[in-house]
Symmetry: C2
DNA sequence: CGAGTTTTTGAGGTGAGTCAACGCGTGTGG
DNA sequence: CCACACGCGTTGACTCACCTCAAAAACTCG
């Protein structure tokens, strides 16, 4: 379900805008629900201009092409950032977690869409005010710069994955990557197979088959969203450096 | 020529480090030649701490894993930034041009390599001094932030390309992208076919075949490094949004 | 329990990779 | 000045990893 950005549908391709099909999503989705704030180890004179906002699973946080009016910082939940082609092919460029900024854009328009994977709460900042703060507070500027740089590094990792890794290596890399922020060897995947496929540049079938292979090889134990890493070293070896 | 980072050699795979083969490169390459400064429309109290440095074609500007001691800003020429896997597979994550920064890293180690594609001149800054400046001058911080953000956007474009575009679309996207900074419809490609392949996540054979196809379709005229765009609209159409 | 959705599995097709040979420009030395 | 070697790019024949289409299985929720 969910009104997420159109993914790689083969039969249902989205040319321009098809009303009635993808409409429900933005409608029900783009609705902040309740105001929660449960951030922790962080800094900022940004705090003074923050508004707490919450999004339901599948809610559109920002849309490709919309005017860039806000900057968000995730206080809980997972967000997927994506780009799409005119015919509906979709590439998730990254998953963002607590502490990450959503909506970093040098232009006045968002060039990527962002959707809440599960329930998400964020701090919302007015873009204008942020820019004023950046021009005054080196602390804020440094914070944003640091985040932007690490996103850049992550993006380079992903380009290496997309350009040069096999399907098996991609899935293994993905699992080790997600595994790093889980404690222990029990991983709960918050996103669907479609999301994973759109993130790894594969099809859902290939993702499924590859995970089955990992299971049959005794590297992991999979049951839907739950993954138990049985042999972490082997998994990392198959990732060829994550 | 070339002591460039090992590319996708199938026969000659680079396990760890093969002396005698790739040695010549770093040796002759890592040699600043002459100090030139021909930058223009730009700002910065950075200027005060800049050292002008020049690199020969193929020179290693920075190496994966080296301690991050400097930040560079290109004053002329083209630089390729790349990541490699242990077995030698290489992904060029971006080409950088005049005004771009090389060496943006949040860690104290470079995570990507950078090589001069042609002759390159740069302004070199001590990393420590830059960090001090960032902590003091919002102007510098904003400049770096802006650049980092646009690199991030470019990276997202590239992820979409690598994850979801066909070979034909990749090559067309690449040509329109390069074409944008060339004036008129005559493009001079400063990089080799191998570089293009490593940038587009393809093989040199596929790049070659695809360009041949574009030529046979009357979209472009190719002769080695020179490309004449005959039908720009058609090229952009084949790029599916660049 | 049944309708809808997500995931898995199967069977077959294909776009890009692999391996191999050749052409072409450039530099070098006899 | 030409023979030769070398690096780069092109072309051809064949293979295969992943995609496509299709259906079954497993889960979710009313």
């Amino acid at each position: 379900m969910s009104g997420m950005a159109q993914t790689n549908t083969r039969t249902t391709r989205r040319f321009a805008y098809v009303p009635g099909v993808h409409d429900r999503a933005p409608t029900t989705a783009r609705s902040p629900i309740k105001a929660v704030a449960e951030d922790k180890t962080d800094i900022g004179p940004l705090a003074a201009i923050a508004t707490a906002v919450a999004f339901q699973p599948g809610a559109q946080i920002l849309m490709e092409g919309d005017p860039a009016e806000h900057l968000f910082r995730i206080t809980s939940g997972v967000v997927k950032v994506y780009r799409t082609l005119a015919d509906g092919r979709c590439q998730i460029t990254g998953f963002l977690f607590v502490g990450d900024f959503v909506g970093l854009a040098p232009e006045d328009t968002y060039l990527a869409g962002a959707v809440a994977v599960g329930p998400v709460t964020v701090s919302r900042f007015s873009r204008k005010k942020v820019e004023l703060l950046v021009a005054v507070s080196p602390l804020v500027a440094r914070l944003l710069l640091r985040r932007a740089c690490s996103e850049l590094i992550a993006a380079q990792d992903q380009m290496l994955l997309l350009g040069r890794k096999t399907a098996a290596e991609r899935v293994a890399s993905f699992l080790t990557q997600i595994g790093r922020r889980a404690d222990g060897d029990h991983i709960e995947l918050p996103m669907t197979r479609t999301d994973i496929a759109d993130y790894l540049g594969l099809t859902i079938e290939t993702v499924s088959r590859t995970m089955t292979q990992l299971r049959e090889d005794g590297v992991i134990d999979v049951h839907r969203a739950k993954v138990h890493v049985l042999r972490p070293a082997e998994l990392e070896a198959r990732a060829e450096a994550a």
